[in-house]
Amino acid sequence: MEIAAIFLPLAGAFIAGFFGRLIGDRGAQIVTCAGVLIAAVLSVILFIKVGFGGPEAARTVELFTWIDSGTFEVSWSLRIDTLTAVMLVVVNVVSSMVHVYSVGYMSHDPHRARFMAYLSLFTFMMLMLVTADNLLQMFFGWEGVGVASYLLINFWYEKKSANDASMKAFLVNRVGDFGFALGIMAIYMIFGTVEFDGIFAQAASKADATFNFLGWEVHALTCACLLLFIGAMGKSAQLGLHTWLPDAMEGPTPVSALIHAATMVTAGVFMLARMSPVFEYAPTALEVVTYLGAATAFVAATIGLTQFDIKRVIAYSTMSQLGYMFFAIGVGAYPAAIFHLMTHAFFKALLFLGAGSVIHAMSDEQDMRNMGGIWKLIPGTYTMMWIGNLALAGIPFFAGFYSKDMILEVAYAKHSAAGSFAFWMGIAAAFMTAFYSWRLLIMTFHGKPRASEKVMAHVHESPAVMLVPLVVLSIGALFAGFVAYPWFVGHDMNAFWAGSIVMLTGEHGSIIEAAHHVPGWVPYAPLVAGVSGIVLAYVFYMFSPGLPGAFVNTFKALHAFVFRKYMFDELYDALFVRPAMKLGFGLWKGVDIGVIDGLGPDGAAAVTRRLSLASSRVQSGYVYHYAFVMVIGVVALTGWFILAR
């Protein structure tokens, strides 16, 4: 069953990818959708078995040995425990919904089979990542999703912006992946294995291990964890390595929903949670994670306030929510992070697919300034977007409410500088989240239509094949938080996770338990922030439309800075891209063409040609020249012998 749940998407990708022409677009769609849907059902069954079957339900299915070299042994195997089961459900359910949705969304695209193949390939790689039993297999999946992401961002390869975005995504991720790879090596150095069981068993005993790096004594686990975190930063778009995520919106919208909101970008969160037994012994690393996660949540939210592209707003919102997950991990509340990951996957996929539905209705318009007044025309999509935004803003009884509140409570309960920083940043971000969510809703659906008449005449509700996935996801966005709360972070927590996540317990029990004992005002703070954000959005965009302009004019410089995304792109361009280009150009023109070609192939060829010309010139055709050469030859040879004696 595990094998079917994981390899069906691969089979679908294989068939659709290599035999797409043979079975046609419709065939490819059926094959891939069926594969992923079956996988989704199987993973729900697996989840129930493993999540509620007690600790002995977790298991590892070994497929075959991959590398066996000396003491280094790695095999392909599927590790199915609660953490994996949660991810399996998230990945397969969201993926299957996106697959179905794509059938409608991509119905006008000439390369539907290829698209479906890529989606399924991505799903398989993501499943490899989450079921990995060792770091190497995880790295395989990690790189695999990177490739799939690259292919999908660049799906419309005739668009230059898509080319650039895909390259950027790939290259920025490379920085992170390099960190991850180094992290794996560091782990191997410390533990002598990359198998999770072996690592986790030794984690406590290596808590004080150090190693010497260039005469510099380093705490081994901190170093390894920070390197792993750099890997997570790349994949999960944390501040510093986040610049690729907004650009990745160049891909088709279902891709943004699946890869750049629900699943791949959360791989970093998953990886850190998976490595929780090690991270627990690296408090310094966790502190870094907290600060960076909190900063990401805040910064991304501020940028989200200023953007006009509907997908980019949601993309920055994704980045901000990932920041939440990371600082939850930073304070040691891994279950809370995974909880938020799960709820976020549902409502963010819902929002993206809803946005896709809007874009579809508006004839591929993405700029919110050219929308408005369409809520009566597409009521289904409108309702779905409301549900998604309510969940995102953390309004009670929607999924996001439970998970986000939990995260903010644990941050407060940490009672540390980092925790407080994260808490206040999180509250501010929650306020801004609500504000930009309603800004999006109002600008998109309300007010006077700002689109051309032709576009407006064409506005239509999406077909059922696109709406049904939205409904399924909205069910998740409505109930996932409420239903899952007791198991993920509530009373049944320990039985549910069954040791797949490790949290060191302090004097008051684990950090989650501590979160249940925070002062009374703390749980209400995010709610207040959220509601006030919504109210302010109404004031700004519905009741007094002049206000945003006035506000922007007052804080011109600040707005420009935030609108330009904190100048990260410009900074990186000046700091890395340009020097690298200059260096590359110099190496190409100067070293390769000038020195290597000059001395190597070209130079050798030129020398050969010149020598050959010279040797032909000697061949004059005159007998006495030839005779002369012969005699000189004999004289030289005899002379050599006489002199050499």
Binding site: R609, M630, G633
Partner: protein, 483 residues
């Protein structure tokens, strides 16, 4: 009372000498129309000679008062020479008829030259060496200028003659020096004298040896005695060039080996330096000189200079394996060159012979099989595996490496790399250039020779590696065993 010497070891040579006289008579009495008949009879007598050779006495036999030696080293070389000569005669007939120089003297001269080569290979004395060499050379001078009313051909013959005379002079002068300082011209006695000498060998003998080596180097066209080669190859009638490229080379290099390993075996340290220099220089000049060539015959001239360089690499190792390598190399060289020249002989546009590389343009479209065979030869000449040429190079470079001659091996590899350029240029012309004017259909005889040679070069050689290798090994061992 003088007893008659034992004639049995020299039976093949005696037969061939008589046969050539008879052939000459047949030609004279039947007139110019007898080219075809005389040619086929010549081939037949070569075959009989070869048969007698194989029936000859086992082991080493010396006769004519020590002037003549028959051993398996000589037999191997003689077989190669006979094969090369036969093929040269077979290929010539049609060419001579088309060029309107169908005279019966041609096969007779080749028979006499072949006889000279056989005598050379069997020489066991500086005097018999010279006699064999001159018999061969005189016949070659004549056929080089066989188209006597064409300026180029006569020029080639004359150049070859003048320079050949110079080289003979050098050789004779060297021989006289050796005689003067060692007191003998017999190879066997020279070997004993030089082996018995105390301390450093006398300057006279060494210089004499260098002069003899120079004379022989001329015959194999090793640098710096190679200058005649391109001009003669280009000027001589193509069928003559085809003959020049193979049989005399095999004969001269076997003689070269016999002289250096036999009588001067104890001066190995000295002659190895000469050979190494000649080998390196030949490889380089062979590679560089060919780049500029547009005429395919000149190209093959430089190619043969280069190949002699590779063969000398094996000799300069001075070991049994090295000599074995040279013999293998010459066998493969024979097949490749016969094949290439069979194609060059077929290069005609509406009956007119052409010899520019550009004339091969688009051959793959007009004559795909011919082009493919040519491509096989070119790959093989360039030494690209799995063609036979690669194994030949392998056989000569390996002993050189084992003997520690790394610089020579490096020069060889660089030269091979450069030589790839012009071999590949021929392939490029055939496969990628446009047809200027299609070539005529080759004659069936040429077709058979090309096909046979191509198949030998690849893939037959690979499967029949062991008879050739073991034959060469036995020949080399016989030579060293006689010392």
């Amino acid at each position: 009372m003088a007893t008659l010497p034992d004639l049995a070891p020299a039976l093949p040579e005696i037969f061939l000498a008589c046969a050539s006289m008879a052939l000459l008579m047949i030609g004279v009495f039947r007139g110019d129309g007898s080219l075809r008949l005389v040619s086929w009879l010549t081939v037949a007598s070569f075959i009989v000679t070869g048969f007698l050779l194989l029936q000859g006495p086992e082991g080493r036999a010396v006769t004519f008062n020590g002037l003549f030696v028959a051993d398996s080293f000589g037999t191997f070389a003689k077989l190669l020479i006979l094969i090369a000569s036969s093929l040269a005669v077979i290929l010539s007939v049609n060419y001579l008829e088309k060029e309107r120089v169908a005279r019966f003297e041609y096969p007779v001269l080749i028979a006499l030259a072949t006889l000279g080569m056989l005598a050379m290979v069997s020489a066991n004395d500086l005097i018999s060496l010279y006699v064999g060499l001159e018999l061969q050379s005189l016949a070659l001078y004549v056929i080089a200028s066989f188209k006597r009313d064409v300026a180029k051909s006569t020029e080639a013959g004359l150049k070859y003659f003048v320079l050949g005379a110079l080289s003979s002079g050098l050789l004779l002068y060297g021989a006289s020096l050796v005689y003067g300082f060692a007191g003998t011209t017999s190879f066997d006695k020279l070997a004993t004298v030089l082996a018995g000498a105390e301390g450093a060998p006398s300057v006279g003998v060494v210089i004499g040896m260098v002069f003899v080596a120079a004379g022989l180097a001329f015959k194999i066209s090793a640098v710096p005695f190679h200058m005649w080669t391109p001009d003669v190859y280009e000027g001589a009638p193509t069928s003559v060039t085809a003959f020049f490229a193979v049989a005399p080379k095999v004969a001269a290099i076997t003689l070269f080996i016999r002289v250096l390993v036999g009588p001067f075996g104890d001066l190995a340290v000295q002659w190895q330096q000469v050979i190494q220099f000649c080998a390196a220089a030949s490889m380089i000049i062979g590679a560089l000189g060919a780049i500029q060539q547009k005429n395919i015959k000149r190209l093959m001239a430089y190619s043969s200079i280069g190949h002699i360089g590779y063969a000398l690499v094996g000799l300069s190792a001075g070991s049994v394996e090295g000599v074995r390598g040279v013999l293998i190399y010459m066998a493969i060289y024979l097949a490749m060159n016969v094949g290439v020249f069979a194609i060059i002989l077929s290069m005609r546009q509406s009956g007119r012979a052409v010899e520019e590389i550009a004339d091969l343009g688009g051959l793959s479209k007009t004559h795909p099989m011919l082009a493919f065979a040519m491509a096989v030869f070119m790959w093989s000449l360039a030494g690209v595996p799995p063609a036979a040429g690669f194994w030949g190079k392998w056989a000569v470079f390996l002993p050189a490496i084992q003997a520690g001659l790394y610089p020579l091996a490096i020069v060889g590899v660089i030269a091979s790399g450069i030589s790839c350029f012009y071999y590949l240029r021929v392939i490029k012309a055939m496969y990628f250039d446009d047809v200027t004017e299609p070539l005529d259909r080759p004659t069936p005889t040429a077709g058979f020779v090309v096909a046979g040679a191509a198949l030998f070069v690849f893939p037959v050689y690979i499967f029949f590696l062991s008879p050739i290798t073991s034959g060469a090994a036995a020949a080399a061992a016989a030579l060293f065993g006689a010392r």
